[in-house]
Chain length 319, copies 2
Amino acid sequence: MSEVMDALPGIEQIRAAATRIAPHAWVTPVMRSPVLDTLSGAVLHFKCEHLQRGGAFKFRGACNAVWALSDAQAAHGVVTHSSGNHGNALALAAATRGIAAHVVVPEGAVRAKVEAIERAGAILHRCAPNQTAREAKAAEVQQATGAVLVHPYADTRVMAGQGTLALELLQQAPGLDALIIPVGGGGLASGVAIAAHATDPGLTLFGAEPQGADDAARSLASGQRVTSVVPETVCDGLRALIGVTNLDALRQHHVQLITVSDEETIAAMQLIWAELKQVVEVSSATVLAAILKQPERFAGRRIGVIISGGNVDLQALPW
Amino acid sequence: MSEVMDALPGIEQIRAAATRIAPHAWVTPVMRSPVLDTLSGAVLHFKCEHLQRGGAFKFRGACNAVWALSDAQAAHGVVTHSSGNHGNALALAAATRGIAAHVVVPEGAVRAKVEAIERAGAILHRCAPNQTAREAKAAEVQQATGAVLVHPYADTRVMAGQGTLALELLQQAPGLDALIIPVGGGGLASGVAIAAHATDPGLTLFGAEPQGADDAARSLASGQRVTSVVPETVCDGLRALIGVTNLDALRQHHVQLITVSDEETIAAMQLIWAELKQVVEVSSATVLAAILKQPERFAGRRIGVIISGGNVDLQALPW
C-alpha cells in the first residue's frame, strides 16, 4: 500500500465523497429509545447504518472508491479482501458502475455475509483466514486482472466515504456532545473523526473495541502500533488490526477507547434488538456495551451512537 | 359488551382519535426493501408499527380509549384482558394520564410481553388461558374497582384508535393500490378498513390470518360467525376470535382473507429480519407470508403492508 493511497483524507475529500455517493447510498435514519436512555443515563441517538445499502456503513467507502476511479481504471474492475461487509459493499458499489468486483474471502467468514457477496455479483476468491494470505491473494488477483485494489480501511477514498456518515449524523442530530464508534481496522473511526471535528471541534470522540481484538487500545496506550494481537472475539467485523494511518487519526483526534468483553457486547446486542427492534450484528453492539460499562463518561450527554451493520446469520445467534 | 360500546367507528371518530393520540403516540416510519420487492413482484411499503410506543399498533387504540374518558371515569382506572400487546399498550396509555391500569393476563402468555406489562406499571391479574376465564376475571376486577373495561378489539374507541394507522400510512405513501392487515380479533382490520376506504374507496383490502386460527376466513366464507375454532398457531397475537362488529366491518369493506401456515409465516419472519433488519413478532409476518403465497394477487401493485408489532422473546425464537 503506497503512502499516497492510505493518506488520511481532508474534510474537502469527505465532502466530495458525500456528493459522489449521494445518488447511490441511502440516508439512514437516527433512532431513539426512551428505555435505553433511562438505562444508560445518557441521551442516545443511534445512527442506523445497518439500514444502509448492503446492510452496513461499508457501502459509503466502497461506493466513493468505485466512483472516484477514472473510466480507464474502472474498466479493469476492483478487488478487495474482506471477511464480509466490505466485500459485499464493494460488489454492490461495482454493480452501480457496471464493473467487475473480485472479492477475496477468508475461510470461516460468516456464511450470511459470503452469500450476500455472491448475490451482489462478485467473483469470489477463497484464501486462508489470516492477514498475510488475504493480502497475497488480493495481490495475485490484482496482477492477473489489472483490477484496482480497494483496501477495507487503509485507503483514503474508503476513509473519506465512511466519513460522510458523520456529516449526515451531525446534520440529523444537531447539538451532540460526543460520538462513539466501533473500532476494527479503523476506516470508520478515522473518517468519522476527521469529519466530526471539521464540523464541530468540541465533540468528544469515543471508540469501542472488543477485548479480544484490542490492538488499537494497546497501541494508543503504549504509544506504538501493536500488531501482535491474535483476534479472538465474536465481533467478526472488528477482527482486523488497526491500520497505520487509521491509528494516526485516532491519536490526532484524541479518540478515547473503551474495550468490552464479548459477553457485554452480546448483552447489549439483545438490548438493541429488544428495545430498538433493530437487527444489528454483534460488532455494532460494542458501542452500547461501552456506554453501559462506563456510564459516568456519558451521563446526561447527547451521544451519537454509530450502529455499523446488521448482517447477521439468524441461524447462529451468539446467545 | 353493550351494542354502543363496540359499534363500528365512523371516519370522524377516527380523525378525532388521531388528534387525541397525537401528543402521545409516535409517527412510525414506512420502510422499503428492493430485495423483498423483487421477491414478491410487488412494490411493498412496510408500515412499521413495531416501532410504535410499546412495540405494537395497540398503543393507538388504548391511548384513544384512555383519553376519551371523562375525568370522573378515568379516576377509577382502566381494565382489560390481553395476551400481551394490548395489555402493555393500555398500561402505557394509562400512565400518560396518570391513572391505574389493571391487566388480566392468561397463563402461558409470552414471557417478554408479560414482563413489559409489569414494567409499564400495570397491576397484573392472572387467569386461565381461555376467553371465558379472561372475561370473567376482567368483570370481577371491574366490579371491585370501578375501572372502565377497554376491550382489546370489540370497542369503538379502540377500533377508532387503530384506524389512525391507516390515515398516517396513506399520507406517508400516497397512491397505494391495496393494504394487507393481520387479522386476529379484528380491531386493527376494522379500524384500518374504515379509515382506508373513507380516504380512498378504490383501495383493495386484504387480511392475513393463521391457518390455525382461521375463524375470520371461515366466518366470511360461510356467511356466519364461526366460534368453534380452537386456536393453534405460533402467532400469539392472532389467537383471538374475530369480534361480532369487527366481522361486520370485514364484510362491509370486502376484506379478502388469505390464510397462511405457521411454517410460511416463520419463513416470512426471517425474511423481514434479514432484509428489512427489523425485529418483528411472528404475527406481523403473516402479511408478507400471504403476499408470497399468492403473489399473483399483488403483482406489480403498490401494497401497504402493516407490520403490527415487534415484541419477541429473543430466547425463544420460532426457528
